[in-house]
Symmetry: C2
Subunit: 337 residues, 2 copies
Amino acid sequence: MSVTIRDVAKQAGVGLATVSRVINNSPLVSAATREKVSRIIAELDYHPNPTARRLSLGKTLTIAVVTPFFTRPAFVERLRGIHTSLIDTDYDLVLYNVETTERRDAYMRSVPRRERVDGVLIVSLPPRNEDLISLANCPVPIVMIDANHPSLTMLHRIVINDVTGGQCATEHLIALGHQRVAYLSDTFETPFNFTASYDRYRGYRQALERAGLHYRPEYVVAGEHSHAVARQMALGLLRLPEPPTAIFAASDTQALGVLEAAQVLGLRVPEQLSVIGYDDIEVAEYLGLTTMRQQLFESGRRGVALLMEAIAGRHADPVCEEMPVTLVERRTTAPPA
Amino acid sequence: MSVTIRDVAKQAGVGLATVSRVINNSPLVSAATREKVSRIIAELDYHPNPTARRLSLGKTLTIAVVTPFFTRPAFVERLRGIHTSLIDTDYDLVLYNVETTERRDAYMRSVPRRERVDGVLIVSLPPRNEDLISLANCPVPIVMIDANHPSLTMLHRIVINDVTGGQCATEHLIALGHQRVAYLSDTFETPFNFTASYDRYRGYRQALERAGLHYRPEYVVAGEHSHAVARQMALGLLRLPEPPTAIFAASDTQALGVLEAAQVLGLRVPEQLSVIGYDDIEVAEYLGLTTMRQQLFESGRRGVALLMEAIAGRHADPVCEEMPVTLVERRTTAPPA
DNA sequence: AATGGGGGTGGAACCGCTTTCATTTTGGAA
DNA sequence: TTCCAAAATGAAAGCGGTTCCACCCCCATT
């Protein structure tokens, strides 16, 4: 059908091995031969068949990315980082979207197989404990990105320190002079075992403690991840006998709900209420929302770098890299009235 | 290294061919043999090597998706549709992100090759004219999703009729009683030759014409795709001696800019100004923005379906399928004061 | 009882590449 | 000029599947 290495060899009057050497830049070819073969390759518009190459090499030259797409910018940014790092390599990027726990479990078992891929990136998806052992013993290297979990120490991972992030956000508010700081997030228990909200909560607690501020249980609310629910929860907080003067929302989406609540109650932001979010999504800039920014793109890049190292056989022991989180100050936080 | 078909054959005391037949559900195996082989397969935890399979079959069992991710929800939705349709097939989804014209041109040449993939989905990316001919003559089936271009008639494609969409949006405003309707969009000329904005503009013109409304050039503005620029342009429109009573923004992002401009000028929406967007992105619902919704997820599904048909050899001639666009009425449009 | 046909089966070729290994060629030293 | 090590080369053996084809066996037909 299409032109093969045999055609090139015949046409150039050399053996298969020589053509293969030319393709793979082996030094064991004389300049003259190389030149001749290269010419024929160009003439015939020959492209080596990657499938045959993979089979012969015993490698798949393929990296799998397992992640819940969601409809969040964070996913795209991480994926961009991953893709960009893979451009200049031989590796293909094959994608596995997870939207149910069933699919997650199916992929956790079927994707990381020697015959399928050379490496796996699992993004924003903590595995079940049942899968942990098999993942840790898996012959193909695995790197987890953004899946911090106490029991993940046997896996390579790029973590985002949400505890520190939550602490930073809270400290920013405290530094502005706020004494009554509330925390609003999505539920701590989710089907996918996301720990971000809980970690940020822990950071919040730590910041309070360090500042010597009293922890008030009534200042911590959690509910479904949507601006509508966030608004209701924020209304609840702001109608307390002694309402908070600042609210730390565990995501920008929820911060939007808080802003909406403030508007409903006629509270001016930031004069009467400070609001800080988390993620730095696109509209955050538009709305002037102060927030915590993660290095999403960079986390993808680092993940690929680590995975490549693992594939190359470096790292006998699991490596854990931490990505920094930075405060982006905009117009929704200010000292209390 | 890992267990192969040969191991299974030996263990089961049958020939390779028989094991292969069992794997591929060939009817040419007796029930007894099938049962025995299946048991051994399970026992040895055998998984056929996809690479070897591909080489032998002469298929890559791989679909390429070439698309600019951007950081837009629209991308993720289309991709979700594509991925979902591929789950129950043998096909892998490999991803090619395009962020520069150089990459686009490189991918247009290197990706659609027999030895690489069985089919290609090109999403939201009109090819250059130079590439058109080679794409049309390409031995591997190609389906364009959301890349409407007059000269694309020789390629399979799923189109979103932006002319109709633009017309609908405009007609909605006219039906409400607006006589002075403006159109605000991103620039018609882009490095990637996107035609959406221009098509929507044409729809806008058509709607005006049908309603017998006078076209005013000063009511049409275009600039970079961002809410900030959109706000400036909207301010310009609203400060005209005879300002429009309704603005059709070519994207929700830009509609946000319009809303901001209205706020700056103290105009109440929708009482004093109607605004309609396009895309129905996530915040649109949050802000109650009236907008045009595309069937993004479904466009991905249809693209895969069409591609599979093309791979199967149906469709001697290029097929063009049109996806509907629907009006989502929310709280930013109303009859003029 | 001989014949024909069809279902079941296994051997072997093949997919297109890489790589080992044996062989030939080359270049420089003796 | 001879000789040897090093460089260059090609044949062939995989990689792990699929499938063609020849073969065997069994049963129904004549």
